[in-house]
């Protein structure tokens, strides 16, 4: 309770409030610009926060995360281009409404649903994260190792790519994490005699490369895309009738989004898809979906915004990122010397609650900024990419350099960008690679500690109930969909033949 109050008091700092306000504007801008999303925005802005104290630094990153996730809806509704992938389902109903001259109503519904979803998820975050941390407090290295393996196994289901490619990409990230001096033995690995690599491959330039520079190369193929904005009349908040129709959908999607967010690696995109599908399934007017249904917008937006709070639960309580953007925030925490995990709620509880309150605050703030500024932000989306991306590139390179003030980091960012671009071309998501790089060090350290603890008998890990539980969950995460798919495939013909 004290920590919650102290955290709230930290927000009373006017300097911090101004920073959060500016970050909300920046986040809405990032989310509204096609090609940029919350993950890229957080990765690009991370170097700016290096010289700050941890509270404002991480508050800025989480603010951008929340605001950018909401702002994707602005472009989804007004120009039929989701600003972030989490808003893809918002296009389905938002744009038809905008074409009918009801863009303001659609934006109003998106803002209300996002705000309610976001607030619900932050309340869950405040309640669940300390509980999860308390449960994990007594974890020994074998439990942590098993938990990290489970977190990595969840990468299989990221995006719409092949699970094998996702796991391979994650394993590549873990391999990259082995570069540098081995912490257990102090022996150099894969450094090629370069001093700059002795501390390992730095997270930030890699994040900037795979999320920012690879996107620049992707954009080189999208120069022909024309964006036209739908004319928007006054922003109109949903009516009482509208609320009556959608309140159940907002609550349901908020629950779904928070739960999906808590699952390691699953983020707002998956949440919005499930939220949208469930909204349609439970709707009394499912035929309206795809033609301008307010329930569709509410289902998608409440889910994707509530996933932001959910994703921060495992990130802060266990050190396992709940979403791709949370992975970058996790990197930010590490860069600031903070150690996410159970001890955060005993040793740095004030800090954790300051972050929770700032997320709560930003969820209210972007409601007003999003509504009043929607017209301006929608116009910003029409900035030609010929101007936008060279400027993004300048920030990417200077950001990559600034952290360690090393040209090696610039090379790493460009290299990661080119590798990331080719990975994406061949269907390998770059998100698992980034998460693998972040978790790789922890995975190896925990395995090493477990081997020492269990006298090099690694199989004894399976005799510990919690480790066993996480290994079973890993197997379910990897093979469950395949088994389910086979069962489903076999039952369908039986049904069709009347058996």
């Amino acid at each position: 309770m004290d920590a919650a109050l102290n955290g709230l008091m930290a927000l009373a700092d006017p300097h911090l409030m101004v920073l959060i306000f500016a970050a909300t504007l920046g986040g809405v801008l990032v989310g509204a610009l096609p090609g940029l999303n919350a993950t890229t925005g957080v990765a690009l802005l991370l170097p700016f926060t290096i010289t700050m104290d941890p509270v404002p630094a991480i508050a800025i990153l989480t603010t951008i995360y929340c605001a950018a996730t909401f702002a994707g809806a602005i472009t989804a509704i007004l120009i039929n281009t989701p600003g972030t992938s989490a808003s893809a389902t918002t296009c389905l109903d938002g744009y038809p409404l905008a074409q009918r001259g009801e863009a303001g109503r659609a934006l109003g519904m998106a803002a209300v649903s996002s705000t309610i979803g976001g607030i619900i998820s932050v309340v869950c975050l405040m309640a669940a994260a300390p509980l999860m941390a308390r449960a994990a407090y007594n974890f020994a290295p074998p439990e942590y190792f098993a938990l990290t393996v489970f977190g990595l196994s969840m990468l299989a289901t990221i995006g719409d790519g092949s699970p094998v490619k996702n796991i391979l990409s994650g394993a590549f990230g873990v391999l990259l994490a082995t570069v540098g001096i081995d912490l257990l033995t102090s022996i150099e690995r894969f450094t090629f005699g370069m001093n700059e690599l002795s501390e390992g491959i730095p997270f930030v330039p890699v994040m900037i490369g795979v999320f920012g520079i690879s996107e620049l190369l992707v954009q080189a193929d999208n120069l022909h895309v024309e964006r036209k904005q739908v004319i928007m009349k006054k922003i109109k908040l949903p009516s009482r009738e509208d609320y009556k129709r959608v309140w159940k959908t907002i609550l349901r999607s908020s629950g779904i989004g928070t739960f999906i967010g808590i699952l390691p690696a699953e983020g707002a995109t998956v949440a919005s898809m499930i939220g949208y599908n469930e909204a349609k399934r439970w709707s009394k007017k499912p035929e309206e979906f795809g033609n301008g249904s307010l329930e569709g917008i509410a289902g998608s937006e409440a889910a994707n915004n509530s996933a932001t709070g959910g994703a921060m639960v495992p990130t802060l309580a266990l050190g396992i990122p709940g979403s791709p953007t949370a992975a970058v925030i996790l990197a930010g925490l590490m860069v600031h010397g903070l150690r996410p995990g159970p001890t955060m709620f005993t040793e740095q509880a004030d800090f954790a609650f300051a972050i929770f309150w700032s997320m709560m605050f930003v969820n209210i703030l972007f409601f007003f900024i999003g509504l009043w500024g929607a017209k301006i932000f929608a116009r910003v989306t029409l900035i030609p990419i010929q101007i936008l991306w060279p400027i993004v590139f300048i920030f990417s390179i200077v950001g990559a350099y600034a952290l360690e003030q090393s040209m090696m980091d610039v090379w790493i960012a460009i290299g990661a960008g080119i590798v990331g671009f080719f990975m994406r071309r061949h269907g390998f998501s770059v998100v698992p690679m980034a998460i693998g790089l972040i978790l790789g060090g922890m995975l190896e350290t925990r395995l090493g500690q477990s081997m020492v603890m269990l006298d090099e008998k690694w199989w004894l890990m399976a005799t510990r109930p919690l480790s066993l539980l996480f290994f079973v969950l890993t197997i379910l995460a990897l093979f469950g969909p395949m088994v389910w798919g086979r069962l489903f495939k076999q039952r369908s013909p039986l049904k069709s033949t009347g058996e």
């Binding site: 700016f48 290096i50 299989a156 092949s162 699970p163 094998v164 490619k165 391979l168 394993a171 873990v174 391999l175 082995t178 257990l184 033995t185 022996i187 150099e188 690995r189 894969f190 520079i213 620049l216 190369l217 080189a220 193929d221 120069l223 030609p384 010929q386 101007i387 991306w389 060279p390 400027i391 590139f393 300048i394 920030f395 390179i397 200077v398 350099y401 600034a402 003030q405 040209m407 610039v410 090379w411 460009i414 080119i418 671009f421 071309r425 061949h426 269907g427 395995l447 090493g448 500690q449 477990s450 081997m451 020492v452 090099e456 990897l478 093979f479 969909p481 395949m482 798919g485 086979r486």
Partner: protein, 161 residues
Amino acid sequence: MHAEEHSSSPPARRHISNVAVPLGIVAFCVWAFWLSTQFDRVPPILKRGMQPSDFPQLVIGLIILLAVWLMVRDKSEAPARLSKMAQMTMGLLIGFLLIAEVDLFLGLGLFSASLAALWGERRVWAIVLVGLISPIAVFFLFDGIFEVRFPRGLLTNFWYG
């Protein structure tokens, strides 16, 4: 390990990239594995759980296993040919790295202006904005506010003296 198997669409044709990419990954892994065999080893008395090469070799083994799986099972469509624009943008990136060795901000300015022009920007003010004003503004933002010391070069020497 499942998407490839329960797809309901008709069996897709395999492309050369379905084999070439996993083969490339395996070749990379073989090289990485060889490198890992060159790591120093810890005497048994000082060993704490694992040798430094054990974990990388475990991961490399997993990657090889998955790449072989892909080689056999992957039927995803080959990507479209790399567009001229993407190739030239990549060429500009390489050019940037070379010029950045002379001066980081000279490289940034030239890259940004060239990229804008390459992508079809013809308005002079826009090219000046991205190629000159933006790098200068970013330089003073980071140098003045964030106290970042940039590497000395042809242009930055004018400021650093």
